[in-house]
Amino acid sequence: MSALRLPLSAALVAALALPALAHHGWRWTTGDNIELTGVIREADLGNPHGVLTVEAEDETWTVEVGQPWRNERAGLTEAMLAPGVEATFIGEPSADLEDRLMKAERIRIGERMHELYPERS
């Protein structure tokens, strides 16, 4: 039954890699906030969650933002989460900082602070 072996071992590898890659919830993050200021280079918005690529000095970060309803509730339009926009992202990074991955709790664009997770602040 070698047809079974490959998918099973692949799933096992995926399961072991799970804590670092899980997007949902906050368990994979450090529990402490960081602040990242940079320019959005790529934006992939939509369900189940939006993902931005942000260039901050000489590092490139992946920043998870909300689903459309959460971004909208925070007063963020698609034009504000678009390539070229400079913003400061406050949120929790992945427990492994080498991932250069964070989940935003709030986003400052210009003078205005946008709260994605008002209950967490």
Binding site: M1, P7, L8, A10, A11, A14, G46, N47
Partner: protein
Amino acid sequence: MWETLAALPPAEAMRTGRWLYAWVSAAHVAGLALLVGAILPLDLRLIGLRRDLPLAPLAALLVPTAATGLAVALVSGALLFLAGPADYAGRWLFWGKMGLVALGAGSALALHLGPGLALASPARRRLAGALSLAAWAPALLAGRMLAFTD
């Protein structure tokens, strides 16, 4: 090609809707529960467990249940795929899962279009049960892992 799919109205609705994605996910889970919940006991019976239970009434109940679950999973799965066609299409785990789904559905179809469950030889039934188990269990696992891997 993936961009064309992503531009379709249902794809747009899946990406931007407040509840649609959540409901379609729920339907997908319900479809999988029906499919796997029905096919697993049938497969185990086919490979030789619980031979005291008559196959005909067991199959009469479990085959339509599994087929309904598969239909629900296919429709909801297609909608979930539309939320990010290029993302899914670029991942080997997704295509591996699709291959397993094709194997499971294809093996069931071959049996039903061929001799049929009732007239199949014991060896043919064991083969169908084993193929089905080898397809659906890892397909379920691979599908769940898609949400947690890049």
